[in-house]
């Protein structure tokens, strides 16, 4: 591979003690601070909402997720009120269905997952000593998408059109449900999932590439390890649901029978796709919350965490094993018992890494000198409750017990124990622990204890009896029940408990939002913690860190005593912003050696506009209004293109810059050393997973249905499929050629290749769609599946053509040059993935009729 001619890092690294000890003159320090402050200033007045900095976006994200959670909590209270006495008629059955569907959906999609991403966006840069996440506008875009989608989905309950088929939307109940409820769920939540995946990409790249110099993988904070694992899990868990949503919406809108058994479809496919998402989802929620515990526990125990490698093992191990559990949600669907056996076994196996984490925490507490702080109180509550939920989990993993308890209140009790213990309590502990970092104030100790004891007692009062209610046979999701079955008293207790939990949350939320103007500002590092985020500036500064330190230990504030003072003095890296640009340091993945200075984007309205139009593209189809949806989609693409064109991968004014301590780093990177390439790689991994889920669907029908393909069915036109395959292969080859030619300086030839390549792939996509045009997708699931695969590829090719033309325009207008060619690297990477998927689809369309 020919080098681009960009400079390599030069200068001394790592810094010596003598270099770090050298003082910086006061006036230089002040001038540097002023420049940094100006560059990182948060916009004022109404412009505040154009902010993209992680500290602002993270805060909005957390508060929005909290608001959705409270709304979902109120729904739970209404549900409990309805069930307080037998034969109650407080609300109608239909309203009840909407409430429990929205309660589950909102808690999962609008609270639990976004909360993880919100907290991570807020905290991670601090823990990693980074100025910001690598793609601030992407976080802002994700946030606005989340807000719009969330308000849309949760708002539906006020118009009596909320989804009502359960948060898992099982067909045929959900597919046949009249009214827009199911569409609101599908499109609204798909929209939010896109935002979740965007945030996951951001967090993974941030953790891999934005660590401070010297923070090798064996000393990075455990939270960062969890973020990596959970980010990876999101990439493999969410896409199957997106694929499922795609099929589901095709059935709802166009009557393509993917889940309709009368025309060869199978509702079980939805259950598989949903739970391939849904079970890992539980761990996606659990792991980052437990990561908060991994940050709190060493601080209160006043010693490094016990068994760092063991915790990494359990995070990674749980991440993998949790994918082998999805069928334990489907034990009663009539699968062969040996299949159940595999999933029962894997469900039991996941207990091991989960248990290891808990034991590592307990060991740390036992060998440390524990100071019982408020965060620790919540963590203790979490450990107690989660252990209890884990125990019933082991019971439910045994298929015969599950047959008995399936769809009863026992399940409701189990899942709330795991989610409260595994998520809600640790997150609240995290709020108490990190509040001084976020707001530079402390929350009240007294109120915190009240909140804890109310929530803890209320929680157990609500859910402990439900184990019994369930074992005595009360099914989930019934809106009322007759008296005399022994459920009356237990339900009454549960309802009273629910209101005590609500009181606990009331106290907590009041503590959070009450005015704190008179309260004194806290001292720096109030918990005396050892990790980097506690080197934050008091009073607050928006620059993240004053200078990016060289880290050599797991608890730098404990083990590198001069560090904070040196950071403040601007003794470390990037202490200045001479060019008036926002910048952060990019380091290598494993050893965190500095490799590049990354320009990061500043405040912008375009992200908001892009999110608004994207929202329109998802929301209008809910009401079958397709033309405005298409217009919105087009505008969203224009907004995103504008934002990329104006602020990403622009040729810099100088190839390299001095980042302090004599180190000179390049200001531009292309290919695998750039963050953009990593983001593309990671996104495509998720995309490939969604594609694989569709292909899985094809083979699922083949195993599950005797008439797939049906006798005498029409197949895709073989000649056109072959033509499509040739078009894609040629387009891919031309794209790769364009990248090589451009780097070699043959700019005109590269442009020609880009143009020809877009023609070739567009021709390929046309041929592919042409090959399935004779088939009637409404008639049977076989033609519908072929159509779905062809559409999937055509849409990707469409996006890919826009990218090719973007590169062509970049080359013509000087954004993309032989030296600064990041865009074409990323686009080529995209085409590697799309070409593979396209050829797989051609193989299925062309070869399957003969092979099956």
């Amino acid at each position: 591979m020919r080098k681009s001619g960009l400079p390599e890092p030069t200068g001394p690294y790592p810094p010596t003690e003598a270099m770090l000890a050298e003082p910086v003159p006061d006036d230089v320090q002040r001038a540097q601070e002023d420049r940094l402050r100006k560059v990182w200033e948060t916009p004022k007045g109404w412009r505040y909402w154009s902010a993209v900095n992680n500290s602002e976006v993270g805060k909005w994200y957390c508060l929005t997720a909290l608001a959705f959670m409270l709304l979902a909590g109120v729904m739970a209270l209404v549900i409990r009120l309805q069930l307080i006495v037998p034969e109650n008629d407080l609300i109608s059955a239909d309203r009840f269905n909407q409430l429990f569907t929205m309660h589950g959906s909102a808690m999962m999609f609008l609270f639990a997952v976004p909360m993880f991403e919100a907290i991570s966006i807020l905290l991670l840069p601090g823990m990693l000593g980074a100025r910001d996440m690598p793609f601030p506008r992407l976080s802002a875009f994700g946030y606005w998408c989340f807000l719009i989608g969330g308000v849309f989905v949760i708002g539906s309950i006020f118009f009596d059109v909320a989804p009502r088929a359960g948060w898992f939307m099982y067909p045929p109940l959900a597919t046949k449900d009249p009214g827009p409820g199911s569409d609101i769920w599908l499109l609204g939540l798909s929209f939010i999932e896109v935002a979740s995946i965007a945030a996951a990409v951001e967090l993974i790249v941030g953790t891999l590439k934005c660590r401070p110099p010297g923070m090798r993988v064996n000393i990075m904070p455990l939270y960062a390890w969890y973020v990596l694992v959970v980010g990876g899990m999101i990439l493999f868990a969410f896409p199957p649901l997106i694929a499922g949503d795609f099929l589901f919406e095709l059935e709802r809108s166009f009557n393509w029978p993917f889940f309709d058994p009368t025309r060869g479809g199978d509702p079980m496919l939805w259950q598989h796709l949903f739970w391939i998402f849904g079970h890992p989802e539980v761990y996606i929620i659990f792991l980052p919350s437990i990561a908060i515990a991994a940050m709190v526990i060493p601080t209160v125990a006043r010693r490094p965490i016990f068994g760092y490698s063991w915790i990494v093992l359990s995070a990674v191990g749980t991440g993998f094993l949790s994918f082998g559990l999805w069928v334990h949600h489907m034990f009663t669907t009539g699968l062969p018992s040996i299949s159940l056996g595999f999933f029962s076994a894997a469900s039991e196996a996941v207990v091991i890494p989960t248990g290891i984490q808990i034991f590592a925490f307990l060991a740390t507490l036992m060998v440390g000198r524990v100071k019982m702080t408020l965060p620790m109180l919540w963590i203790s509550g979490a450990l107690a409750i989660f252990t209890m939920g884990g125990l019933t989990g082991v019971m439910l993993a045994l298929a015969p017990f599950d047959f008995q308890a399936h769809d009863t209140y026992f399940i409701v009790a189990h899942l709330h124990y795991t989610l409260f213990g595994g998520m809600v309590f640790p997150v609240i502990a995290g709020v108490y622990y990190f509040f001084p970092f976020i707001q530079k104030k402390k929350l009240s100790d007294r109120l915190g204890k009240w909140a804890f004891w109310l929530t803890f007692t209320g929680f157990n009062l609500t859910f402990l009896p439900m184990h019994l209610t369930g074992l005595w046979g009360m099914p989930r999701r019934v809106y009322t029940y007759p008296t005399g079955l022994g459920w009356d008293g237990l339900n009454m207790i549960s309802t009273v408990g629910a209101f005590i939990v609500a009181a606990g949350f009331g106290v907590f939320v009041w503590d959070l939002i009450r005015p704190k103007k008179d309260q004194p500002q806290i001292e720096r590092n109030p918990w005396d913690a050892g990790t980097l985020e506690w080197s934050h500036d008091i009073p607050e500064e928006a620059w993240g860190v004053r200078s990016i330190p060289h880290v050599t230990t797991r608890y730098p504030l404990w083990d590198q005593p001069d560090m904070a003072a040196r950071m403040d003095a601007g003794r470390y890296y990037l202490p200045d912003a001479e060019e008036g640009k926002r910048e952060t340091l990019i380091t290598s993945v494993i050893d965190a050696t500095p490799v590049q200075v990354q320009r990061v984007t500043g405040p912008a309205w375009i992200t908001l506009a892009a999110a608004g139009f994207t929202g329109g593209a998802f929301i209008f189809p809910t009401f079958h209004m397709y033309p405005p949806a298409i217009v919105c989609g087009a505008f969203a693409v224009v907004c995103i293109l504008y934002w990329l064109w104006t602020s990403t991968a622009r040729p810099p004014e100088a190839d390299a810059k001095d980042v302090g301590l004599g180190l000179k780093l390049p200001t531009y990177a292309a290919g695998p050393s750039s963050v953009g390439w990593w983001a593309m790689w990671i996104t495509m991994l998720g995309d490939a997973t969604a594609f694989a889920s569709l292909v899985f669907g094809f083979f699922f029908y083949w195993t599950a249905q005797p008439d797939f393909p049906p006798e005498g069915a029409l197949h895709a036109v073989p000649g056109l499929v072959a033509l499509a395959a040739m078009g894609f292969a040629a387009g891919w080859g031309l794209t790769v050629c364009a990248r090589h030619l451009n780097r070699g300086g043959a700019v005109m030839a590269a442009r020609l290749c880009l143009g020809l390549s877009s023609l070739a792939v567009a021709g390929g996509a046309t041929a592919l769609i042409g090959s399935v045009t004779p088939l009637n997708p409404e008639a049977h699931v076989y033609p519908a599946t072929l159509w779905a695969l062809a559409i999937w590829i055509a849409v990707h090719v469409g996006a890919g053509v826009i990218m090719l033309l973007y590169c062509l325009a970049g080359s013509i207008f000087g954004k993309l040059t032989p030296r600064y060619d990041a865009d074409i690297w990323n686009v080529t990477l995209y085409w590697h993935f799309v070409t593979i998927s396209a050829l797989v689809v051609c193989a299925i369309l062309g070869l399957a009729p003969g092979a099956l």
Binding site: P12, Y13, V217, F323, P336, I338, G341, V589, I590, A704
Partner: protein
Amino acid sequence: MTDDQPERREDEAEFSEEQSSLLKITIAPTLWAGHFVICYALVAVTCAKGWDFPTVRAGLLAISCLVVCGIGFVGWRAWRQWNVEETGDFINRRGRAEDRHHFLGHAAFLLSVISVIGVGFVVLPLFFIGGCQ
């Protein structure tokens, strides 16, 4: 770049195999996952299409043996990389290249152990459940 740690250049050569990748620690769990998918998919198709169950089961048990050997090999390599016998350092908490090298070995070793246990669990139904039922 100059360097004040004299051993660093040697480290760079010695540890170059993991310079750019974290993926090595995921090999053992990936083997577990692959094994799981093969077991599940093959049995599902066998039951749906009425293939000969005992043959499939024998094949799966053979595959399981191979997978356990594979994970064992990964684990053994990781154990060597962790090198705890020589260094006596279980924790590898320092920020040096060799600590990171040993740490990745340690993590990979632990993950191999958990993967073997995982494969063991998944194989149990093949022993105890005789057919599709």
